[in-house]
Point group: C2
Chain length 416, copies 2
C-alpha cells in the first residue's frame, strides 16, 4: 500500500523539464501579489503583441467562475494583448464581488498593457467562494509589464506561478511548419485535483507565433481538446474555472490561411494536438496523491462515443483506482465499471488486459491467467488497462491516476 504522506514531487513527474524557446510576440513576468500564498509567485502576466488572436475552451460547469464568464465574452472580439492569471483564489462563486474583481483586474491590466479592457484575458485558480482582492494587482501589473521578457526561465516561472496543489510545473513545446515557414508552440498548464471531463485541466495556456484567424484557432483548439484534456480525469470532479486558451501572435511570416482544414495546417495541427496531449498527461501524472499513471484503452465498442464513456467509467471508478494503488490486478472491478457505464456491452464477449497480460476473455477469467504476470504489471509506475467489448469499431483512450490515501489527505486538509 501507498503511505499516507504525499511526496513533495509526484513520482510520475518528468525527470527533466523542457526548455521552452523564445516565442516572438510573447513576453512574460511573474510576481508575488500576496493573494493567498506568501513566499512564492502567485501572478502571471503575459504581454501579447498587437495583432494577437485568441481562442478558448472552458468548463461546462453550470456555475462557472467570474473569470470564465469574462473570457467567454471577450472572445466575441478575439483580439488579445494581455493575460493575467493568479493562483490562490479562484474568484468563483463570489457573486457581484467576483464580477467587480474581474472588472478591476482587467482595468489595471489594460492600463499596464496600453490596450482596451476587452483585450485582456483573466484566469484565477485556488479556493472558491472567497472574494479576490484585485486591488493587490495595482502597481504589480504595471511593474510586470515593464520587465516582461521571453526565454526558458520566463516560461518556467510562468508555469510555477499558476500552480496550486501541483507538485511540478507543466510545460511543453513543439515546432512545426506552415507552408514551409517554421512556427513554435509553447504551452503551460496547472491542475492536480478537481480534474474531469469535459475540460480536464484547471488552467492551460498555449501560445504560438502562427498567424491564424480566430475561427481557425478555435476549430483547431476545440478539436485538439477532444483527444487531450477531455480524455484525462483525476477524480471526476469538474472545476468551475477550467480554462484552456490558445493565443497566436502572428509573428511567423507565413501565408494567410483561412480554413482550418487547409492541408498546409496538417503539421501545425499535429504539433498542437501532441502538445495538448502532453500537457493533459502531465496533469494526470500530477493527480493529487498519484503514484501510478494509468492509460485506459477501450476497443470494440459500438461507437467512439460509447467507448469514451466506458473508458471514463473505468478511469473514474474509485474501486478501480484504489485497486491500482494497491497494485492489485482486480479485473473484476473493471467489469463492474464497464457494466455501470450504461453503454452497450455483452458480458460474454468482454476481454480485459493489464499491460500485455490478458486476464479475462469471453466473459470469464482467461484460462491461461497468471496472477504473477498480472501482478508484475501492476507494480509498474505506468499501467495500461485495456478492454475489448467485441461489439464494433468504437475506440477510445483516456488517462488517469490511482487513488491513494494521499489524495484523501491532501483534500481533507486543503483549506485548513
Amino acid at each position: 500500500m501507498s503511505s499516507a504522506k504525499a511526496p513533495p514531487v509526484s513520482p510520475l513527474a518528468p525527470t527533466a523539464m523542457p526548455e521552452l524557446p523564445p516565442l516572438p510576440g510573447v513576453r512574460i513576468a511573474t510576481a508575488q501579489a500576496g493573494i493567498r500564498y506568501s513566499g512564492r509567485t502567485d501572478v502571471l502576466y503575459v504581454a501579447l503583441e498587437s495583432g494577437t488572436r485568441a481562442a478558448g475552451v472552458f468548463t461546462r460547469s453550470k456555475c462557472p467562475s467570474a473569470p470564465v464568464d469574462w473570457c467567454r465574452d471577450a472572445l466575441a472580439d478575439g483580439s488579445a494583448r494581455a493575460l493575467v492569471v493568479n493562483s490562490g483564489n479562484a474568484n468563483a462563486f463570489t457573486g457581484r464581488l467576483g464580477r467587480d474583481a474581474v472588472a478591476r483586474t482587467v482595468e489595471i491590466a489594460a492600463q499596464a498593457a496600453g490596450c482596451r479592457t476587452g483585450e485582456v484575458y483573466v484566469a484565477s485558480t485556488g479556493v472558491i467562494g472567497e472574494p479576490l482582492p484585485a486591488e493587490r494587482f495595482e502597481g504589480v501589473l504595471a511593474e510586470c509589464a515593464a520587465r516582461a521578457e521571453d526565454g526558458p526561465a520566463a516560461w518556467n516561472a510562468a508555469a510555477r506561478a499558476i500552480m496550486t496543489t501541483d507538485t511540478f510545473p507543466k510545460l511543453a513545446t513543439r515546432t512545426a511548419e506552415i507552408a514551409g515557414v517554421p512556427v513554435t508552440i509553447n504551452g503551460i498548464a496547472k491542475g492536480a485535483g478537481m480534474i474531469a471531463p469535459d475540460m480536464a485541466t484547471m488552467l492551460s495556456f498555449v501560445f504560438t507565433d502562427a498567424a491564424l484567424p480566430q475561427d481557425v484557432l478555435q476549430a483547431l483548439l476545440s478539436a485538439g481538446t477532444k483527444t487531450s484534456f477531455n480524455c484525462v480525469t483525476v477524480d471526476g470532479d469538474t472545476s468551475t474555472s477550467d480554462t484552456l486558451m490558445l493565443f497566436a501572435t502572428a509573428r511567423a511570416g507565413h501565408p494567410a490561411i483561412t480554413d482550418p482544414a487547409d492541408p498546409r495546417l496538417a503539421g501545425f495541427r499535429e504539433a498542437l494536438d501532441g502538445l495538448l496531449i502532453e500537457l493533459a498527461q502531465l496533469v494526470a501524472k500530477d493527480g493529487e496523491g498519484a503514484r501510478k499513471f494509468v492509460t485506459v484503452r477501450v476497443t470494440g465498442a459500438e461507437s467512439d462515443a460509447s467507448a469514451h464513456r466506458i473508458a471514463m467509467s473505468i478511469a473514474n471508478s474509485p474501486l478501480v483506482k484504489t485497486a491500482v494503488a494497491g497494485e492489485d490486478a482486480n479485473w473484476g472491478r473493471v467489469v463492474m465499471a464497464v457494466g455501470k457505464a450504461g453503454e452497450p456491452a455483452d458480458r460474454d464477449r468482454l476481454a480485459i488486459w493489464f499491460g500485455d497480460v490478458r486476464v479475462a476473455v469471453q466473459g470469464a477469467r482467461d484460462p491461461d491467467y497468471s496472477e504473477a504476470a498480472a501482478s508484475a504489471v501492476m507494480r509498474e509506475p505506468e499501467i495500461e488497462i485495456r478492454v475489448d467489448l467485441g461489439l464494433g469499431d468504437g475506440n477510445a483512450r483516456v488517462w488517469t491516476c490511482d487513488l491513494t490515501k494521499a489524495y484523501v489527505e491532501i483534500n481533507g486538509d486543503y483549506r485548513s
Copy 2:
C-alpha cells in the same frame, strides 16, 4: 484527519441491533460452506412456506452476475420456496461456469426444500471473476433445511452470514395493519462498498407475512426502492450483483388485495418504505472507511429528477467527501458539484447550508458566515448538506458517507 486504519466496527453503527420478531412462513439457517472464508458462516438458507410470492429489483449493470440473471428469470413465475445466499464469491463474470454453478446450487436447494428449481432464488456476494464452487452446497443445504428456524437469533445470524466488508449486520423490522389484520415486515441487508444508484445495496432481502400477489409486491418494492436504496451512494460504483427481494408468505389472514393503490395498503406501504430507508441508511453508515453519515438535501430544483441528479453529484464527489472526512466546511466544492451535474442551476440564486448554518446565499458567501459555526457542524458524526437552487419545486434527499484513507486502504488490499 481520519487515521488510516479502519476500525473493527463503523463508528456510525447503531448502538443496539433490533430484535426481529418471528415471521410466519419463514425459517432460517446459516452454515459454513467454506466458499472463501474460514471460521465464519458464509451461507444463508431461507425456507419459505408454500404460497410465498416474490418480487425483486436488480442492478442496472450491463454485466450482471449469473445469480441476478437467474432471479430475473425465476420471477416470471413468482412462486418462492427457498432463498440461498452465499458470501465470499459473487459468481459474477464467471461465464459458462457461473451459469453452471447457479444451476447446481438451485438443484441442491430444490432437493433440500422439496420444490421446483424455479422456486429457488439465489444471490452471491464477494470477489468477482472466480468460479463459485457450488459443490460445497451439497449436504449443507439439506442440513440447513432440516434445522431452519425462526426468531431473533436466526435473523441476526442471517444478517451476519451475508456480510463481506460490512462491519456490522444490518437488520430492520416494522409492523403494520392490512384491513385491520396485523402484519410483520423483517429485512436484512449487506453492503459497504461498490454502492451506488441505481440500486445501492449489494444484497437486501425483505420478508413479510402479508398475502399479496406478485404484481402488487413488485409495485410496492419498485416504488420503495426509489426513495431508499436508489438514494444512497458510497462510492458511485455499481455492483454487478445488486439484488433487493421482497418475499410475502401470505400467512397473515387479511382480505385479498389486488391493487397496489388500494387505500388499505397505506399503512403497509409506509412501513415497507420506512424499513427500506432504514436498511439503505445502514448501508451508507457502514460505507467502507466511513466516519461521517451525510444527508444531502436539494430543494428548489426544476424537477425532482433534476434535484436527485444534483444531490447524487454532490454525494458522489470525491472532493466533497474528502472535505467531510477532514471536517472542512468547504462549501466551494458543493458549488463545484452542483455545477458539474449538468442540471439547470443559476449560480447567483444558490444557497447552501451545513446543518443549520447557511454558508452561501445568492451566489456568494453568506454575509453572516461564521467559520466557527460551520466547523462545529462538520465535527458531528451526522451531517446534513442542503442546497437550494431557487428555480422551482424539485426536491431530493440522498445519503452517503465521507471518503477516508481507510476506504483507500480497504479497497487497495481487498483481494490480497
